[in-house]
């Protein structure tokens, strides 16, 4: 027996062992000679791990529905080379060990072609270490985290970032502070893990001096712990406080500060200003009012933006009654980029051809992002910049002066400069060719 055949047999049988299927129960599929796991004549199967239940789920749990809404829109318009995209959703509850278990299920039981938009720094690092998608050759598309490490092609050869890194965000935020809050006393509350350490690295590179820094362990954020933050921030006489954490930390921090009549100028990291999460925590979205925030996508209230206009329409039909917020926009934009990657992978896509396609063509993919994608064989960096704005009383982030002023930088020591990038026009009907 030739090695190739034996290998295929081993692999196929291993999958069966896990899925408790018998060979005869595998649906008959018109496999081409180059058929790939998760790809049939009619379907491309993708998988996502994300918190759908539990304390961390509000807001994030809208992402899969948003992605499905766009995939269904593409499917209704012919799919990708005639194949419909399906998305298998697994709830990891924002627990790294759950992310490992669920990702194993996606790969071994559901036999997905690729992972797409899995969320969380710790979760993705846990999956990389324990499931090892790179060794398996499984693409991990557009991880939903800004941890700079995932752009390391050597360490994570099958993983692609989409969000700008937290290092970039901190550097650009430092520039914003210099421009708008020079001479003020600055405080920092940050998540005391790789998410926060990325930010600390960025602030250090930018030379920001903090009057006090307060780290909190992931998962420990609560009104009780936030009261401790406020005490320290007050003691340091902070005029401006950066809260670089998840939205549940924002809810705890801003909600508690409001209750304690502490009202500095808040600057929120891009992942910490989600009104949906804040409301789910029992804190009025109004606590966000006038806080500074950042984004790389257009404002969700910017209905003049062609992507916002199209995506909000698609989403309203797919998920009636659900608010079109930044979680939805992020999810639909990820799906939009994913579709282009699948198209670029060829008529009979393989995991290898998908990776090759992103490396060679990813920087030309259209997207809602107001900054360019930076993919190449040596770079898995997604977007590379931000604009700043302030939150409305309803928790919507709007650009300062009604105009996007975009800054760009890298995750190293590169300077922060204004971006001159002009986003290309959206493909007709939002359907990439």
């Amino acid at each position: 027996m030739k090695a190739f055949n034996r290998r295929k047999l081993v692999t196929a049988s291993a999958m069966l062992a896990v899925t408790a299927l018998t060979i005869t129960t595998v649906p008959a599929q018109a496999f081409s000679p180059k058929s790939e796991v998760g790809v049939s004549a009619n379907e491309i199967k993708l998988g996502i791990t994300i918190p759908m239940t539990g304390a961390a789920s509000p807001g994030y749990n809208k992402v899969p529905a948003a992605m499905k809404a766009y995939f269904d829109y593409v499917n209704a318009n012919g799919g990708v080379n005639g194949r419909k995209i399906t998305l298998v959703v697994k709830d990891d509850q924002y627990v790294p060990t759950q992310a490992v278990a669920k990702t194993n299920e996606l790969i071994l039981k559901d036999r997905v072609f690729a992972l797409v938009s899995p969320l969380g720094t710790a979760n993705n690092k846990a999956v990389a270490a324990s499931v090892n998608p790179a060794k398996r050759g499984v693409p991990v598309l557009f991880v939903n985290t800004g941890f700079s490490g995932f752009a390391d092609v050597k360490k994570y050869p099958t993983t692609y970032s989409l969000l700008p890194s937290y290092v970039m965000e901190a550097k650009i935020m430092a520039e914003y502070i210099k421009d708008n809050f020079a001479g003020k006393t600055i405080g920092l509350v940050y998540q005391d893990d790789d998410f926060g350490s990325d930010a600390l690295a960025g602030f250090k590179t930018a030379g920001v001096k903090f009057a006090t820094t307060v780290g909190y362990a992931s998962g420990s954020q609560s009104a009780t712990t936030a009261a401790g933050w406020v005490t320290k921030l007050k003691a340091a006489n902070c005029d401006v406080v950066i809260l670089f954490g998840v939205s549940s930390a924002t809810a705890a921090g801003l909600g508690t500060a409001a209750a304690l009549k502490y009202a500095p100028q808040w600057i929120l990291g891009s992942v910490g200003g989600d009104a949906t999460t804040i409301k789910a925590a029992g804190v009025p979205a109004g606590v966000l009012y006038n806080a500074v925030g950042a984004s790389f996508l257009p404002s969700t209230t910017d209905t003049a933006d062609e992507y916002v206009s199209l995506f909000s329409g698609i989403y309203a039909k797919a998920v009636p009654g659900s608010a079109f917020d930044n979680n939805v926009l992020v999810g639909m934009n990820s799906a939009f980029v994913t579709v282009q990657a699948l198209q670029a992978a060829g008529k009979n896509p393989t995991r290898k051809s998908l990776i090759a396609a992103i490396n060679s063509k990813g920087s030309t993919f259209a997207s809602a992002g107001l900054l360019p994608l930076n993919y190449s064989a040596s770079s898995h960096v997604g977007y590379n910049g931000y604009w700043f704005g302030k939150y409305s009383p309803t928790g919507d982030l709007k650009p300062d002066g009604g105009k996007y002023t975009l800054y760009t930088t890298d995750s190293g020591s590169g300077a922060v400069v204004k971006s001159t990038y002009k986003r290309p026009a959206m493909p007709a009907k939002g359907l990439p060719n």
């Binding site: 027996m1 030739k2 090695a3 034996r6 290998r7 047999l9 081993v10 692999t11 049988s13 291993a14 069966l16 062992a17 896990v18 408790a20 018998t22 060979i23 539990g54 304390a55 961390a56 509850q93 924002y94 627990v95 790294p96 060990t97 759950q98 278990a101 299920e105 071994l108 720094t121 710790a122 690092k125 846990a126 270490a129 324990s130 090892n132 060794k135 398996r136 998540q191 005391d192 893990d193 790789d194 926060g196 350490s197 780290g215 909190y216 362990a217 992931s218 998962g219 420990s220």
Partner: protein, 540 residues
């Protein structure tokens, strides 16, 4: 490592219709004796001792078909343990032969009903006995062949320390065995002692500076020191368990440990860090690190508490062996064997500290704990050269080999099996390369046959159960994939069948029937892409 129990073996053999023999422990002798066979039918029992004094048992069915299966048992402590010692109290050194795993009658029935003989030794010495056990097995195989001259095939298998004995036998004496099955295989002694030593040193450094954690005296005093360490370590673990919710540190903690407590770092984070740096699994018999009780702790329990409880549960099992194995190898080596003089514990936990960041209480806490470890006095081995001279596996696969191990085994981590897989991957690539070069000359390419099949005993999706009050239940049977050599009878029979087929045919049965059998066995996985972390000794 796996402990064999004489009483269980005897009772099971008595229950087996096919096994009529009653075992008698044969005293250690200086010259080979036997085999003395009772001539019973349908299964005759033979016993004797090899020239090193190791007692053995052979069970040979009347319809003997020429194949014999040699089983090597796991680690047995090399000192008697007084009844008052927790968990292992009352143990007496035993060299009772173990021809089948744990005396399992179903496994015995499988072999014997096929006309296959089984045999096993109790070995000449207990403790870490790789060198002597391999020599014993070589002699036992020759003895069997001489007695039963129609022997045509020899297959060997073993558990835990018996796993590495089996692998080493196949590496050093490939002509003596036709196929092997090392199960829940131990790693080489240096790697195992590093895992043990790192954990004990950490316990000493954080929680009780009076723990010796090695450098035991010779003789009775050394035994007392080791047993004293067991009591101290288990006492500390009891206090850590009691303080899991509050974060309180044991009252015996070191000044540095107390300073960490004062800084607000819970003791559960410290014990988790020790588990991670030693390489203990973060899933255990009753803690899956993914489940939480309904209510407020649904998320925070798996995120912040469960991994520490898993390390505690695994650590309690591992620490006893760690202490007694360290003492045993120190005696053999004539000096101390644990060396962390240049260990970078921060590098050890670089990845895992991200995954378990919340349970470790964040980067600041991690940095503080690692700072204590970095500043604490290190151990320098005085007998490294002697340890290095002890037998060790190279990972060379000479004969068809089936491996089975639990993915969360706390005593012989899955990484021990992974190391063999990795070595064989290199070996197979070289064999293919050689075949290609040969094909260039002959014009005919033949893919080399694969000689290694790895079977993983995997954990369920989740298994932690909670009572009505939300407290975890720890009385249920250990989940598959956890605990040491935690295989079902069906698992063992599955491996036995594969072993017999491989031994008969000279090649691994890699086909649909095999995968179907493995699947039906329950809790087992064949996944060529699965990769377990190597033991920390190897620098990951």
């Amino acid at each position: 490592m796996r402990i064999s129990h004489k009483s269980r073996l005897i009772s099971l053999l008595g229950a087996s219709a096919l096994v009529a023999a009653t075992l008698t422990i044969v005293p250690a002798q200086a010259a080979a004796v036997g085999p003395l066979c009772n001539g019973a039918s349908p299964v005759q029992s033979c016993q004797g001792t090899t020239s090193d004094g190791a007692p053995y048992v052979m069970m040979v069915p009347a319809n003997f078909n020429g194949m014999v299966a040699l089983y090597s048992h796991g680690y047995r402590y090399n000192i008697d343990i007084p009844a008052g010692i927790p968990i292992v109290g009352g143990y007496k050194i035993t060299n009772t032969p173990e021809p089948i795993p744990g005396g399992n009658p179903t496994v015995a029935n499988y072999f014997l009903s096929q006309g296959i003989a089984v045999m096993g030794s109790g070995f000449a010495r207990q403790g870490w006995n790789l060198d002597s056990a391999v020599s014993t097995n070589v002699e036992l195989i020759e003895t069997f062949k001489k007695k039963f001259t129609t022997t045509t095939k020899v297959v060997a298998w073993g558990s835990s320390l018996g796993g590495i004995i089996t692998q080493t036998l196949a590496e050093k004496y490939p002509t003596l065995v036709d196929a092997v099955a090392p199960m829940c295989m131990a790693d080489n002694v240096a790697a195992e002692l590093t895992m043990a030593g790192d954990f004990l040193w950490g316990m000493k450094t954080f929680f009780d500076p009076t723990i010796k954690a090695g450098n035991y005296s010779a003789g009775a005093l050394g035994n007392a020191e080791a047993l004293g360490d067991i009591v101290k370590v288990l006492t500390v673990m009891g206090k850590l368990q009691a303080g899991v919710a509050s974060g309180a540190w044991p009252d015996t903690s070191s000044p540095a440990g107390k300073a960490l407590e004062k800084a607000g770092i819970p003791s559960r984070s410290a014990i988790l860090l020790l588990g991670l740096m030693a390489g203990l699994p973060t899933q255990s018999a009753h803690f899956d690190s993914v489940s939480g009780p309904e209510g407020a702790l649904k998320l925070s329990f798996p995120l912040a508490v469960s991994p520490a409880l898993a390390v505690l549960e695994n650590g309690a099992n591992a620490a006893i062996l760690a202490i007694l194995a360290t003492q045993d190898v120190e005696l053999q080596a004539g000096g101390t064997v644990f060396d962390n003089s240049s260990t970078d514990y921060a590098a050890r936990v670089a990845d895992s500290s991200v995954i378990f960041n919340a349970a470790l209480s964040g980067n600041t806490a991690i940095t503080a704990m690692l700072g204590v470890l970095a500043a604490s006095p290190r151990a320098k081995a005085t007998a490294s050269a002697k340890v290095a001279s002890l037998a060790a596996t190279t990972g060379k696969i000479n004969v068809p080999t089936i491996m089975m191990t639990g993915v969360a085994d706390p005593i012989t981590p899955a990484g021990a099996t992974q190391r063999i897989i990795d070595k064989y991957t290199e070996q197979y690539a070289a064999e293919k390369d050689a075949a290609r070069k040969a094909a260039n000359r002959s014009g005919s390419y033949r893919t080399p046959a694969k000689k290694l099949l790895a079977i993983w005993s995997v954990t369920p999706k989740s298994w932690t159960k909670f009572d009505a009050a939300g407290s975890p239940i720890t009385t249920a049977p250990a989940a598959p994939g956890t605990n040491h050599c935690n295989f079902t009878t069906a698992n063992l029979v599955t491996v036995a069948k594969l072993l017999v087929t491989a031994g008969s045919t000279g090649s691994l049965p890699i086909n649909a029937a095999t995968f179907s059998a493995v699947r039906k066995s329950g809790g087992l996985l064949i996944d060529p892409d699965f990769s377990a972390p190597l033991l920390k000794y190897y620098g990951n």
